[in-house]
Each structure stands twice: as C-alpha cells, then as structure tokens.
Symmetry: D2
Subunit: 304 residues, 4 copies
C-alpha cells in the first residue's frame, strides 16, 4: 500500500480545517512548540517504515510513555500488578481524584496519572537503577541508545505538579505507594520527559503489533499474551474520557500524550505515530485524532 | 479448526470449578432457570456453525438485545443518535443514576440501561409498529421468523422496574425522552424479553463479524463503517464496569445479558454465543466469561 | 418593639435594589403570580401579630409544608422515623439523586424532596384519611378551618413532576417506600399545594417558637423536646445547599418554599413569615432572604 | 443552677454504658492517652466556672482550634475570606477530596480540614509571625500566657499527613493556596497541636457566648455580628457529617476535635467544654457527645 500518498492527501485536507486547539500551556517547553509541526510515521511488523512531515523531529512523548512503563512492570511482575491498579476505563478526566477516593486509593487503570504513578512506584521498588534500567528497556526494543530524558522538561513539570502531588499523597494515605514520594515522582517526571521522533515512537510500539517481539531487534520484550493484554487496555483506557470516542472513530488501540503525540497499534500489521501539538479540550491532539480517523477510514482497516 | 473439541475440553475444565454465582433473582422466570445449563455456539462468516451443550435451548437474551436495538436505530438515523447518547465507558454499574444527573440526562453509552432506554425512545419515534418492526429487523438478519417476545418475562420485569423507571423519569426531566414513558418502557421490556438459543444469537451477531452483511441472508443490515463502530462500542462499553476486564481477558468486543448469555464477535471471522445462567457480582455470566477467556487463549486469537 | 416600622423601613430600602430573580417557572400557577407582591407577618408567643404589605393574600406555601408534615409524622411515630430519613444537611440541591443512590435510598433529611416524599409515605401508612387528617392537624394549630389544598396547583405540579418521580422510584427500588407510588405522590402534591397568607404561616409556625404549644389554641402539638429538634433540623437543613448561608446571615431556623415564602422561628419569642415571589438561583426567595437578614440585623437578635 | 451536681449525675449514668470507641490511633501522642479520662467545664458570661473530673488536665484540642483560627482571620479580613472558603455544610467526611474537586478548590466551610488549611494560608499571608501572633490572640482572650504548641504532637501529625497534603496540593493546583505549602502546613499542624484543659477551652470560647467580648479580659475579640456568624457556622458545620445530628441532639453550636474534646456555646449564657478521648466512627468524642445531649436535656435549655 502506498501509505505516504495517503498521509499526504489526508494532511492536505486537514490543513484547510480550522485548527482551534492550543498547545499544552502549563509548561514553557510544551507551550513554546511550533503549533504547525506535523509528523506521522508507520512501521510494519516486517520492518518497513513510512513517514511524512516532521517525522524526524523530537517531541515530548509525555503520557505515551505510560504504555512503556506498564510494559516493563508487567513483564517483570505479571498479573500481580493488578492488585494495585485496575484495568477499567475511568469515565473521568486524566487527573481526577474522585474515583481514587471512592475506591480507596486503587486507580482505575495504568494510563490515568494516578495509575501511572503506581506503576512508577512499582518500578522504583523492583529496579536497581530505575532511570538507567528504563532507558535500557527502551533501547533494547529499538536497538538504538539515543533516546534520553529531557531534564528541563522534567524540572518544569515538577515545579507545577500540584495536582499529581495531590494524587500521590492521596494514594500514599491509602497505603498504595511504597516508596518515598519524591523518588517516585522524580522517576515519573523523568519518564514523561522522554523525547522521541514519530519514527522512533512507531518503531518502539511495533512490538505491540508483533506479539511482544521487537521487529527491529527480534527480542521478546513481552509474551504474546501480555502484548495482547496491553493492547486491550490501550483500547479501553488510552484516551481518558475520550477512550470510547477514539475506539469508535479510529478503531485501533492507542495512547495520546499532552505533547501532541498519539500512537496506535494494528495488531499483526503495524504501529503508527502522529504528532501535532495543538490539543482539544480533553487534552488529546486535535489534528492527530482526526488524522488517524481519516487514515483508518481511507485504508478501510481497523480491528473491528 | 476443531472448535467443538475445544469447546468440550474447556467445558470439562470449567465444570470442576466452584461455581459460586447465582441466577438473576429479581424475576421468577430468570431465577427458575436450571443453573447447570450450558450452551455455546460459534458461527463463521462463511456460514459454518459449531456448537456444544444446550445450544438449541431458548434463553432470555436480556441486555444482549441492546446491540440489536442500537443497530436498528443507527441504521435508520446515523450519527444523529449521538446527540442523545454517548459512546464512552461509564465506569459505573449498569443502572447508576449518578452520571446521568451530572451529565444532564445524556447517558454515557447505549449499553447501560439509561442509554438503551433512549434508543428505545428513538425507535418508538421512528417506527410505525415498534414491536413488529423490530422483530422483522431480526428476522431479516437470521432468515427465520421464529424469534419472539416472551410476554410473561416482559410483564415480570415491568412489575419490579423501579430503578429503570427512576432512570427514565430522570431523563424525561432533562428533556431526553420524547414519547410517553409507559410506551417507551413497554417496548424496552418487550425487547429485553426476547428468547433465543445460542445458535440463534451467534447467527444474528455474525453480521457484525461480516462488515454488517448477514452471512445467512446476504442482506446488508449495516454499512461496513457502522458495523465497525458498533463493535468498537461493544469493546469499550459492553460489560458495564467490567468492560476493561473483558477486553483484557477475552480480547473481543462482546455484550452480556442478565439471563446468563454473552456474545462476542471476532471481526472478519466469527461470532460466538455462550450461555450459563449463574452471574458474578457485576451481573455478567460467571462461567460464560471464563469460557470465552479460555477459548480465545486456547485458539490464541483475539483482535489484539 | 415597633416591628411594623422596622418592616416598612427595610422594605423601602430593598425596593430600590435590583431584583433580578424570577418566579418559579415550571408551573403556570406560580409563574403567573405578580412578582411585586410582598408580605411579612410576625406572630409572638404572646399572641401579638405584626404585619406589613400583602400579608392577607394567599400564596402557595410549597416546601414550607414539609415542616408541618414532618411535625405530624414525628408527633405520631417519634424517633422511629429516623430509620427511614436522616437529619444531616445534604450539601446538594433539593432534588439531587446522587446521594440517594450512594446512600441506598435513605434521604439525608426530611426537607429535601426525597425526604419529604418518605414522610408523605409514612403519613399515608399511619393516617386513615391522609388529606383530611393533615388539614385537621393544621386547623388544630391555627384554630381556623379555612386553610385548604389547591387542586389546580397540585394537578399542575403532578403533570411535570418527572424529577420527583425519579426520586420516588429510586427509593422504592431500595425498599424505602411502602405504599403505592401514585397514592404517595398525590398526597405529597396536595400538601405542597396548600395556600396560606403570611399571617397564617406565622401563626401556624408560632407553636415552634412556643415549645410545641400553639399560642392560639393552647393545644400541645408537639412535646417541647420534639419542637426543639424540628427547629434544629430547620436550622441545618431548611435551605437545601444554602442552609449554611441562611444560618450565617439570618441566624434563625427557617424554611423556604418555591412559591416565594420563607418562615423563620425565634424560639421563645416569635415566628416570622415573609413572601416575595422572585427566587434566586438556589430556589429561595431573593427579597425574602434579604429581608430576614436585614430584620435580624436591625433588631440585633438571632439565636446565636 | 447547680451545674456540678448535674455533671456528676450524668457522668455516673454514662460510666455504666458500654464505651466502644477508641482513641485516635494515627499518632502515638493521641493513641496513648488514658481512655478513661473525663473532664467537663462550663464558664458563664458572668465569669463563673463550674467543672468536674479531669478539668485541669491538658489535652490536644486538635480541630477545636479551627474556630479560633477562623475567628482570628475573620477579625482581620472580614467577609473577604468567604471568597476562598464557603459556609455550607459539606455532607461529607472531614477530609474528603470529592467536593473540593467538583468545586474547583474552594472548601465548603472553614471547619473541614481543607477549609482550615485555607484559613491557615490566610493567616500566614497577613501575620508577621504567625505562630507567635496566633498564641497572643488566644492569650488576649484568656488573659493567661501558659497556652502553648506541643511540638512532638505537631511533628507526629506532620509525619503521617498524606491526606492533608493531598488536600493542600489539590487546592494549590486550583490557585487557592498563596504561600509555600510547607509553611502553611507547619502552621496548620502547630495550631492543631495546642493543648488546653477543659477549663481553658470553656474560658476561651466564652467570648462567643458573650457577643465577641472576652468575659475574662473584657477585650472585644470579635464584633457582635462576627461572633454570631461564627456560632452559626459552628451550628451547621461543626461536626463534619454529624453536624445535623449534633444540632438535633444537643441544640447548641459546637466543635469537636480528634483529641476527644468538644466545645459548645449557648449564646448569652455560657460555653461548655468536655473531654473524653474515645471517638465514634465519625471521629467525634463518643461520651462527650452523649454527655452534652444529656446535659442540655437535663437543664432543658438549647437555643432551639
């Protein structure tokens, strides 16, 4: 299939749309990104790469990393992690405290902030050098050691993280955080600060299209069963309280980040990453979502 | 694939389990069903039928019908119906009023009771003879006119429907019910009272595995796009506040009913219906859920 | 004290204010009331009556009646009624379903709609002729048989009572309504439809300023202890989610109605009734609240 | 009146009751208090002191201090403080985050933890030396400089304050905390750590029975109007989600603390402080509440 042509023609159509969103405003590093940037990359399980636009430009992947931290924790601890975080859609915004209070500090799923903080706590407990080991986990998937944390983004987020600090303190009060709060949050913000290109994101996530095996390094990162289960959680929970809408419109499991990135996976076929910095009211990339909807419609292929 | 053998061997294993649930107790017709009943049927898009156990015995499909009423309303009104009901997981039990109050009478999705009542209201508005037309819609899919309402089940449900009446009055107060409440609820209870065998359920739902075209009558019931979108909604919302769990464990879009039935769809391949009357605490068939998990694990095939 | 002069001077000041509220719009009988009407009456435990403005004009007392139905139920059943309704402020609007769902059908207090419906159900259970007996209860307090139900108001309310019907069905589903829903709601709407003048309201409520004994007929309506307890509930719950505000500003136990009436009680001294039909956003009389605040400030007397 | 005799006879009766509660367990200093301790003191606006039991023994007043911090903030800033904290009962437990999230970081009232933290923040903003100035405020009321903070209690509370830290971070995220979180919380915990005897508590609160003027030092601490308003807030909000119950049973404005103290005020007459360390499920002194109910019943005097 000529994916590039499809990319280009969808992009032309979308460029004419009124693009009313805005970049994430709460940290300078994200607010300052040129809102006209647009990149898309598709990587097949056979190792073919298709891309368009600013596909080699690094951006802050933010919450997209939550899939990778979950993958690492799940690969080490297995189903045991579900004692501390659920797999249900929350039906609420990404940073809500309400359900966390009603449900005694157990987050609904690992992709809302509270759940990802619990995963961060799990990794701090089981890893020798969390920051180093986590990067190595990613490097092992992509066969490339260039992916790094961005300390100025991590610092910026940390300085305005009152809501996340409310979440972690609430969970600690319920006994669902084992380690020192500062240590857990440092690691959490470091992970969120990772920068990648859409090429890189598509490559890293291709293992989830390939039953847990990296098509690049041929390493088994996850068992086939674990890979499927992570895709299932992305499908039901990947877009906060727009998860149903994304499943309905795009029809693929996916995950968004407040840096404007979205990744989606077609199991058995490919992964696709798109980047456009302006966000809608729910915090998901405006053009990115529309692009993926148009793409799965154009090639007439979703998992449903 | 030898599906029957797989069915049989999974069933043997499950029979040894402690089966702690109980049948739905709120109406005599459901409470009185023999809890040992078990049937499963799989129907491929090529028209092959595989089954096991009590697969030719009628049971009350209950909420499974909500997929069919949605399919009919969506085929007639298109995306316009989403002005009155959402496509997001609710994160709450099937009959909760909380979100309905916060969200001004707009139900989260068409598979919780409130949403299905809105769909019933839509059908009452657009159909000449709702009861007759809806049965014909089903008959057209399956090419068989034997499927009928069960008036004693409908009457029983109506007589203890205080919670559903609370939902419909609340929505009426917000202006989201157009017709007379009694008319809407009569139709709603009639639809829920339909009885089918697992063979029949698998056959009817095979159109959702086949891009909206009935493999039996070869009629286009839904457009390919509509069929995919209904599958997406089943995936994210089909099991109330166990939807994430079902996606995680089974990996197929599906829908359960309080009569102990569950249907799941593997797009492009088959639909499968299972029936076992005892329910877990969330109101989903206990053995039915375990069976489907074991089945998709055994044949190593899910959409993820 | 020269109450009339105080009334007149406060009224002059308030007349110059911008009066932005509006009359209750949901039933024609309330919407059509002249919004300029204003009446106030004060009745002391010694039997002195002071009034100003339209103090002899009948208006629909609406929720003010909830204090009288509670008084009757409490005088007959005592503390037993607290098994079915609480005495805590709800912190939510008068017709909210949220807490009712979380708290299994037990309303927070007898002055929100759900609680008053439970009280209505209790009276239907214990009275031979609820409508007749309840009027006699009021007649016994005031020594005058002219107070009556207004059937056109009752009918109007009944025809648009979807929210209240949602409440009663929800409580019935939890087992907290004993009688037929239509019977309970008919009696509820009849009670709300009672019309009185501010003179009459002040007289009826004077028994709560006088330890439960009517200063007019000298009959003991309630025990001294019961009278105090009803005043306490009015203080904490009489104004829905403005109860704290009313306690803070006015400093007396009181109860409002959507017909624009407010009654307040200074135990050991007097009761005061005010009527001004325009309501604020919380459904309480705009000018009525301001008048009472100005009055207790002017005479420098509250219970606090 | 012979208050001491009344105290003694009520205490005899209560001693025979099964006292099932337990002392606050979350900090060693409170858990270790002898649960059999009991003290009560009543101080009239004429300066008469009546007491019984361990009335000269210091205990940790905990949340009772919230009335004093509110009094100080209100005396300095007036009604301006209501822009940052409400006066409505919350209908929820003392440390709930739910309403705080729905209501954008504005606590319902100054007596739940979130509200008291806002008051602490206000005092940090306006006072030169918050800790010193606040003690002086109390010393000015009681005419005695012996009342002090207890640093070991303050330290203990700080070390397990995850829930309170969740509250303050959430409010900071909504912009409702001006100062550094650590500074605000240090001051908050210091205030809560103050220890007094029941004699001292009754004396300090007697100014609220006396229109804001200390009967001891004859100083005007609050205006008459401010004093009444603080009493009104105590009445509606002083006991978290048992406020209605306390109004109903005791009939006086009051405030409890997790150290087992309760203070109540009869405006125009006296204040009364009681101390018994075991708490009920809502965190209020079990015997203390029963004692006050029996006391206002025995002397047949409440504000209602």
């Amino acid at each position: 299939m000529n994916y590039q042509e499809t990319f280009s023609s969808i992009h032309s159509v979308l460029s004419t749309l009124d693009n009313t969103g805005q970049t994430a405003q709460y940290i300078p590093e994200l607010a300052a990104v040129n809102p006209q940037k647009f990149g898309v990359s598709l990587y097949t399980i056979k190792g073919e790469l298709y891309n368009f636009g600013n596909a080699q430009e690094k951006f802050s992947i933010q919450s997209i990393v939550k899939v990778l931290s979950l993958a690492m924790a799940y690969s080490r601890q297995g189903a045991q992690i579900w004692e501390r975080v659920g797999v249900e859609p929350s039906g609420t915004p990404f940073n809500s405290l309400v359900q966390l209070e009603y449900e005694q500090g157990i987050p609904r799923n690992p992709f809302i902030n509270a759940g990802a903080i619990v995963v961060s706590d799990i990794l701090v407990s089981i890893l020798q050098n969390p920051e180093k080991d986590f990067l190595e986990f990613i490097h092992e998937i992509i066969g490339d050691k260039s992916i790094q944390y961005n300390s100025s983004i991590a610092e910026s987020e940390k300085s305005c993280a009152y809501r996340n600090l409310a979440l972690v303190h609430l969970m600690k009060s319920f006994g669902n955080i084992e380690n020192d709060i500062d240590r857990v949050m440092d690691f959490y913000f470091n992970m969120c600060s990772i920068c990648m290109t859409t090429d890189e994101v598509a490559k890293v996530f291709s293992m989830l299209a390939n039953k847990g095996i990296s098509p690049i390094t041929n390493t088994e990162i996850l068992s086939s069963s674990s890979s499927k289960r992570i895709n299932a959680i992305m499908q039901t929970c990947g877009f906060y309280d727009e998860s149903g809408e994304f499943a309905y419109r795009v029809g693929l499991p996916g995950k968004s980040g407040v840096g404007g990135g979205i990744v989606a996976v077609h199991p058995g076929q490919y992964s696709i990453a798109v980047w456009s910095p302006k966000l809608n009211a729910k915090g998901n990339s405006l053009i990115g979502s529309k692009f993926l909807e148009a793409f799965t419609t154009a090639i007439n292929a979703s998992i449903f």
